[in-house]
Symmetry: C2
Subunit: 424 residues, 2 copies
Amino acid sequence: MSPQQTFVHSSGAPMYMETSSAPTNIATIKYWGKADAKWNTPINDSVSVTLNQDDLKAVTTVAASSSFEKDRLWLNGEEEEGAAANKRFRACIDGVRALATAKKDADGKVLVTKEGWSRMKIHVSSYNTFPTAAGLASSAAGYAALVAALTLLFGAKEEFPGQLTTIARQGSGSACRSLDGGFVAWRKGGEKADWSDSLAEQVANEKHWPEIRAVIMVVSDAKKDTSSTAGMSTSVETSLLLKHRAETVVSKRMETIEKAFLAKDFETFGQLTMADSNQFHATCMDTYPPIFYMNDISNSIIRIIHAYNKWAGKIRAAYTFDAGPNAVLFTLDEYAVEVGALMLHYYPEFGENYVNNPDFGMKIKAFDLDDGLLEATAKTGREPKSGEVKMMYYTSSGPGPQRLTDTILNLDTTTGLNTYMYKK
Amino acid sequence: MSPQQTFVHSSGAPMYMETSSAPTNIATIKYWGKADAKWNTPINDSVSVTLNQDDLKAVTTVAASSSFEKDRLWLNGEEEEGAAANKRFRACIDGVRALATAKKDADGKVLVTKEGWSRMKIHVSSYNTFPTAAGLASSAAGYAALVAALTLLFGAKEEFPGQLTTIARQGSGSACRSLDGGFVAWRKGGEKADWSDSLAEQVANEKHWPEIRAVIMVVSDAKKDTSSTAGMSTSVETSLLLKHRAETVVSKRMETIEKAFLAKDFETFGQLTMADSNQFHATCMDTYPPIFYMNDISNSIIRIIHAYNKWAGKIRAAYTFDAGPNAVLFTLDEYAVEVGALMLHYYPEFGENYVNNPDFGMKIKAFDLDDGLLEATAKTGREPKSGEVKMMYYTSSGPGPQRLTDTILNLDTTTGLNTYMYKK
């Protein structure tokens, strides 16, 4: 380990620090509904594409010192009062610390014993490079970065493969899928009483299908109406269709989509991705009272994508929507500029930072859309209109959490207090 | 029978005419998906409230004469070319004619033998008093009026109870439920090879629960994107949730809602009505490609109704949506003005014919909505806005088809040609 991680607190006590980034992930077979609220386990399997941290990530610094008075957490620069007692936050700190190992210096001298970690309080500062709670799985990236940073800090060792993902899952369910790159499945588990078999495993890494791209249409960055946790709970209680989906539909879809990903079969992958997004939103509508995450703008994107694929005679783009109105459009490298240009045509530029990637932005502005494609998609009834989509992100698939040693830390190296100031 | 029905065609041949009106109906447990396309039978039972013809109806005149050259049909004043070969139209004419009886004059002299009807061609003119194909079940009223008028014309006698509903069903599925008043169930049938057991039966007549009211919010009178027939076909092929709904969910709901209607239990009736509307639209969303009949305006009405009921501490209004964005709000006499006033508040007047019933219009304008109710419903995010709802219909439950003898006929009594001119 590199020397940056040990500092001296102004009180004179040692202070150990680590920083990790983690990616967000977008499920193509959706998680909706908890089997066990205490363990935060799902009623069905799910699988997701890990997005590239160059474009979207959470960055979390953790520090441990005997000079700290209590566990503290800063999110996007703002301290969360009472975080030390927060069940999810606690599960991550205590869970990773239970796997801690002794920390030694370069000469093998013990600096902190395994038990010694328990005598220190923890400071955490985390920020996202994308809008919080806008349906872009910010909590997944945040809890994955927390678990990854704590793992480095405590030198934690898993007792079985995937154990760290069971801890991240207790922070935020889908966080377990952000601890790895590429295509990652969350197996629902439930054979073991402590749900230690409800864990994530990589189906294929980010190098397996490097042509995968994602164009994200940020329809709204407002906080969502119904939180995922509350929504899931109501759905499990009231939707008969959700129960059927979890018990009967998902397991076959998991098998098919994992095979499709391994075979780089975009036709099957895309078709199932779209069908499963729709089924998830169908179960939300079947909830009583119903939950609406998509809106008319989301629906117009769906219609355009179906018209596009029909025009192309094959699936070139596949939409998926999480618990919010934003569309994530999966496509392949060869079609990405066309997909972006099509979206720019119907949801034209609104402000200069409309596209996160300037190079992609220039390419999609310059791209000449086929007349037949414009005619086919115009039949959906959508007319080009500014202001309804706030931003487009272009990204690819990427690896799991990264240790950051040469970045500015979010916590002060002398006081252990937050230094990161959130900028909108 | 009254003497109006016999006329003399300009050619000198007798011409027999009858006119019937029929109501529309609004399903509270929805029909979606055909079991047999040829017989037009459903994959699940359904049940509906028959609306009052004073407010919404189809009026159909039929004429038979040996001087007619072919079967002809006028809809809302426009002739439908090729109607004689239309499968649905044919099924109704031929189906009712197979049950014909001989026509006699007052002295018992036979004017037309049972077989004689087959030697005459039929002219039909039908109009609706509400927008066609706007999701207000216009085809149900139209085919019910056609079957009812033909029944009068041919003096048709059923061989078993409900036989005429099996004929109307072949015109338009839900038309079978418009042949009776009050609360009418359509039993899916399927035990008999000719589907003669797929028929409608009255659960309770319109006098059983006279306090039932409906406020209809016409969100759009545009023709819908996906026709019901095409939509159902795609849903049956692709939605796994629809299959589950039809096989497992609906039969229990039918039993519960029929009991609730008989017990005048609005709480259960309303809750199931809303849940089943949502489930129907959920199966549309689970269809591939997905079908969206509701829009953001529809969704805002749903949110307001849930907030209203929550504020009231009981169900005072229940929404239901057919294959279109229009909301039908069932309520009771005692809450109808409040429901109308609430809708008028959030979807304010737009033109002078906004409310079909002037008395109701005045009452809802004068009604003083509770401040707590306005506060509770404002939390849905809806702000009052004109122009999104084009019209409000206020109506009640009513009887089945009515013979019209003192009305102006839609067909000329000398030529048998259409006289009704459609006025928007």
